[in-house]
Amino acid sequence: MNFLNKWKYLMIVVMSVLLLTSCGFKDIDKRYFVVSIGVDLDKTNSKRYLVSLKFAVSNASKETPTEFQIISEKANSMSEAVRMIKTKVDKEIDFSHAKAIVLSEELVREKGNAGIYYWFARRRDIQKISWVAIGRPSALKVLKVKPKSERIPSNALFLSLGKDGSESPYVMSEFLFDMKYRLIERGIDPVLPIIDAKKGFFEINKVGLFNKSHMILTLPPEETKILNFLRRREEKSSNKITRGKTTIVIDTHKVNTKYKIVTPKGKAPFIKVNVSVEGNLEETTKRVPKEKLSDFERAAEKSISKEVKNILVKIQKANLDPIGFGLRYRSRHFNNDDWEQWKQIYPTIAFKVQTKVQIEDTGLIE
């Protein structure tokens, strides 16, 4: 009897569990994976967005590369657009592999789009480690690019934004969580890479600098490289230095940047920036004798200092802070109104840049 009762209970439990289930079970081939998301402004109405989702179409054959499909929708908000796109596809839309978010340049130049940035951060299924970038001429065009080397849709984008594939000092990749961090943290501003869509490939060598709401400034490739140095994110690069008629190229393998905000009493505050570069000689237009190497080092120091200072001033003029000087100031001062103080100090603060260049090796040729 007891034994029968036990089984009865067990059956009830099993039955109730089976009744409750059938929720959330959806096979991987019934899901439509979004690999990248593009957001543009609607051309006809600037209040509306054009949201494009790039789906990976998986096929069984290993010979042909995976296809993709882009579906776009105009709507007043992200969620509306996604809801409308759902009606156009046969499978469940799965955002969990959306590893690249491309925003068009027009969109980021416009104010009042914070809702979009927060939409990404708020959704649980969008990875916080997806990359955010600015697309030129439009996000949709960037999504449409199909490089030859790519077997999985958008994989080329992932590889070039991440550090797994190509490593370049001109790419300044940005994760979604870091973008959100910079959008809200007082004293440090967002920086997003700009992707230029070309025929069959991408060109990623510029960055756009944001204030707390929209993009203000874009930096050309060389300045991007310097900014990368200052943020200590990338160390391999090549620098062209001209001295007299000779031009040499230094291939850096170690770049170290330190900065310190000095606020002497009674005197004007300044920011001391120390850059130290170690590298090899890679290319020269003329033969460079060994004794002259130190002269080139001096020349390189001078030119790098100048470049660094120029870009720092340029950013300062635009009242932006991608490096986080403001945060550094806040973190070193114990008073509560340090942020207000810094807002007064920053527009007028002076930069003192010191560079130390060391050419360690001249390659296989003396």
């Binding site: 969580f177 961090y181 509560n336």
Partner: protein, 357 residues
């Protein structure tokens, strides 16, 4: 067998991520959380020391056995009834909040009650085991999970996106007047020792001083990690927007070479077992204390009545408490818990001293 004592303390240190401790600390980051944490450390260690040294006077005995030495039964019964409630709610809060996390991050379309069934099944199996077996299970689970959690923490510390400046910025608010809520939340990391009330049964031998030394080091590191890592990733201003700072932080980590790229899933998988163990430990204590209150033989029927009460309360909790409400309740629960803990430790300390004299 002093390692068992460390396990109990370590478990609470790990579980604080689930029970809103980082959320509360980050909420008061400019208003006294830093000082609160600093104050909580000595309080936590002192309570640890007092309670465990008191209990070593009763080797291998849990509270029910100790109470049975007393002449006044009613005193014991009153004492026990209050304590069980605290332990039960401790487990309940962890349970509800972890089920919320699971539905949010892993199974968004699954009804919470379904998730609860599997939790309850596992819990009922574990809490009815003898105390030493619960301890063995805890040991195995900690052995499997702690190295990997430590690896995740290491990855977090070595991440280039971790902003030390943001962490220092919060550190500069050290002189803000300490907030009671922050102290209560921070002391939770140390309060694993209270489980000794039952688990003293399996502790053999005296606790040595190095135990407390390790607890101090671990506690300081743990509080620093819980509090500051989310700030380092999401900013001194941004971290407070997050409902579960640590889960989002885990989602901000990326393992480039691992087949599982997103750390959040590893993190949640490890925490499934850790939180299951934490709830089991708390409920096991509650169950054993209840058995002590019944006195005499505990038959299967009484046992199942108690278990079904546990079940019913957790069903009610899961249905009526959402994360935001639970967060509010937890804040006051943590304060209440701190007061209760102080009370229990003091009563116990003086009572044991008088008895020894």
């Amino acid at each position: 067998m002093n390692r068992y004592f460390l396990y109990l303390v370590l478990l609470n240190m790990l579980i604080n991520v689930i029970i809103f401790v980082p959320k509360i600390l980050i909420e008061y980051r400019y208003d006294g959380a830093v000082m609160g944490v600093l104050i909580a450390i000595p309080i936590g260690i002192a309570l640890n020391y007092l309670f465990s040294t008191t209990l070593t006077k009763f080797p291998q005995q849990g509270l029910p056995e100790i109470i049975s030495l007393l002449k006044h039964h009613w005193f014991g019964v009153v004492h026990l009834v209050g304590i069980q409630l605290v332990w039960f709610t401790a487990g309940l809060i962890t349970l509800i909040s972890f089920i919320d996390i699971l539905t949010r991050f892993i199974n968004p379309e699954m009804p919470k009650l379904l998730l609860l069934t599997i939790f309850l099944a596992a819990l009922f199996l574990i809490i009815q085991m003898p105390t030493d077996r619960v301890m063995y299970l805890l040991e195995i689970i900690l052995f499997l999970n702690t190295p990997l959690i430590a690896f995740i923490i290491f990855k977090a510390f070595s991440n280039e996106y971790l902003s030390w400046d943001s962490m220092l910025e919060v550190g500069t608010h050290i002189w803000a007047w300490p907030s009671l809520k922050a102290i209560a939340a921070a002391t939770y990391c140390f309060s694993g020792y209270t489980n000794l009330i039952i688990f003293n049964r399996v502790i053999k031998g005296k606790l040595k001083l190095w135990n407390f030394f390790i607890i101090t080091v671990l506690g300081v590191f743990n509080l620093f990690t819980t509090f500051f890592i989310p700030i380092g990733f999401h900013g001194s201003d941004g971290a407070q927007e997050l409902l579960y700072p640590w889960i989002t932080t885990a989602d901000s980590l990326r393992l480039v070479y691992s087949p599982i790229e997103r750390v959040i899933f590893l993190f949640l998988m490890f925490y499934m077992s850790i939180s299951l163990m934490s709830i089991s430990i708390h409920w096991h204590v509650a169950l054993e204390l209840l058995k002590g209150t019944f006195r005499g033989k505990v038959n299967m029927k009484k046992n199942w009545i108690v278990l079904s009460f546990f079940g019913v309360f957790s069903v009610i909790g899961v249905i009526y408490l959402n994360a935001l409400l639970l967060n509010k309740i937890t804040v006051y629960w943590l304060i209440g818990r701190l007061g209760f803990e102080l009370l229990v430790v003091c009563i116990f300390f003086f009572w044991a001293r008088r008895r020894a004299a």
